[in-house]
Assembly symmetry: C2
Homo-oligomer: 336 residues x 2
């Protein structure tokens, strides 16, 4: 799935930034792809981009209107349909990361047919994938694994790819979820793949590459999540990582939304992931620890990261607050 | 997915029993559901059932024509379409475990619409499943796990359910694959579920039950398979087994079709499965070992099973050659 950029970000009528996680992720990580925003009068947020009409966005180089919001329930609101139809008429493609499919709205399907534009449902696999082969691929791979879902695996992978590039290494962010796919412009919605093909899809996501090249792969789920561990394991096996990065949100003690499930400590998270990862890459190592410290007082952050670094003897960083330079340095020194 | 019985088994024009695994499984495990067989003149096999016309089968109580063959490629052969259309006209439903969907053949779709009969694509999930909750359910569960795929997990579960019933226990075989679903008349095609919902589908497959009741769950994949481990893990977590049964095919040394992947020994298979299963049931135990000894000389079988039994201190049986009475006795004595 390859989505043409640049983007005009559609915010509809959402009231809060929390409902615009996809748009915020794009502004944070792919500002060069975002030419402007489009809002209904009742919209309660502002990304700080220029408000543009669809024609203005086209003139500014936009190729795709991105539905950057995922309100609760994941449906396409009635009042969004007319502007989406108008955008298609102006020659924009439309991309959405919502569960609801764009093409299932008759007016949208008809307008796309008329204009010849494409509809991208980022959560719908765009291709069928083969069964995994387990065959070793050239190039290097790094996979984010987590003590839980939603601990910062995507931001970690994006920060690592950026900071490895700044360090003179060749690295590519590989997206496995809807926001990551929109940021990268391509990727595989791994949690929407039929289970028999998850490892094969992960193999396709990080194909053979140059010996010194690193794929930095966004994780999905967690081996410790009662609903999503299977997704995480298929991605782990298909990715064949040379390095894993253990990701955790400071202060979280239980699986989010599952109060009966206590999180593992980082040692156990690393041990279990390495144990399972060795099936497809016996040389896998843990290369670092990423901590989302946003719930900690800023004054506690440095000491918190330092304690974990001393305990695990691995670089420990917060992808937002400190960046991943320490990890890039470690990779350069420890993986030849 | 609940498929109305009894069945007329459709053999088409296949040449070999290997291409009729589904039909053979039905004759072996659900003979009371099979009223007869239907063959084209060029068919090379005979299940030993009465050859019947569609009208005769209806009169004998058949409700569904089961496509009992899965020739290489999984397509619906051109010469099968006319008889399938005729069967629908005679009032039979049609069920298939092939990858190709019955309803995608226009003549078949039209005939089903005319007759009002149902088409069952056993490999297509008939319902959407919720995300797994990890919540503990009442009743007992036993799951087959394997050193590899295709080691005899289905036959093991069927033999255990039969022999527990003979032992006076209440046990239900729970099907997770196409042949198992046709044998049981219901089940969940677990490897066809979108990966985010595998654990939830497994939870739905073995719902709350009486305290003394056992669900005996057919396994899928293997934690040691480079393509299918994720499926196996989702099923393991959603099943929340009280007991696992380790299944292996004697003489097999590598993952079937993956010569670079050496099978674990039974100890490691049990240890890794128990370690991962504890996430959703900390009390899980291994209750026995099932060995498919069909590749061994019959004279070596008893000693082979005995050696494993002595080594692991668990009942060890071949579901076809010895049956699972020893396991039923062990369960009755060791799980109150």
């Amino acid at each position: 799935m390859i989505i043409p950029g640049k983007y005009l970000l559609f915010l509809g009528n959402v009231a809060e930034r929390l409902d615009a996680k996809t748009a915020c992720g794009l502004v944070d990580w792919a500002p060069e792809r975002c030419v402007g925003q489009w809002r209904l009068p009742s919209c309660g947020i502002d990304l700080g981009l220029k408000d543009m009409s669809f024609a203005e966005a086209r003139a500014a180089g936009a190729a795709t209107l991105v539905i950057g919001v995922t309100p609760f329930g994941g449906a396409i609101a009635r009042e969004w349909i007319a502007p989406i139809v108008e955008a298609l008429g102006a020659g924009l493609n439309v991309a959405s990361g919502m569960h609801a499919r764009l093409g299932n709205v008759p007016e949208i399907a008809a307008a796309a047919k008329t204009s010849g534009a494409s509809l991208f449902d980022v959560r719908a696999p765009g291709a069928s994938y083969p069964v995994g082969t387990g065959a070793k691929r050239s190039g290097r791979r790094m996979l984010m694994v987590g003590t839980d879902c939603a601990v910062g695996k995507k931001y970690t992978a994006l920060a690592i790819a950026r900071d490895m590039a700044a360090h003179g290494m060749t690295a590519t962010f590989r997206a496995t979820g809807q926001t990551g796919i929109l940021i990268a412009g391509e990727g595989v919605p791994i949690d929407a793949i039929v289970s028999d093909f998850v490892a094969g899809a992960a193999e396709a996501l990080s194909p053979d590459n140059d010996p010194g090249h690193w794929d930095v792969i966004e994780g999905q789920g967690s081996l410790f999540h009662p609903a999503y561990a299977g997704v995480a394991l298929g991605l782990l096996h298909g990715s064949q990582p040379d390095a894993i990065i253990a990701c955790h949100a400071a202060g979280r003690t239980h699986i989010d939304g599952y109060p009966d499930f206590i999180l593992p400590d980082l040692e156990r998270c690393i041990e279990v992931n390495l144990g399972m990862a060795r099936l497809t890459n016996p040389d896998v190592r843990c290369a670092g620890v990423s901590i989302n410290t946003s719930r900690l007082p800023a004054s506690d952050r440095a000491a918190h990261l330092r304690r974990i670094e001393d305990r695990l003897m691995l670089p420990c960083f917060d992808p937002v607050a400190t960046g991943a330079e320490a990890l890039a340095t470690y990779i350069a020194a420890n993986f030849d």
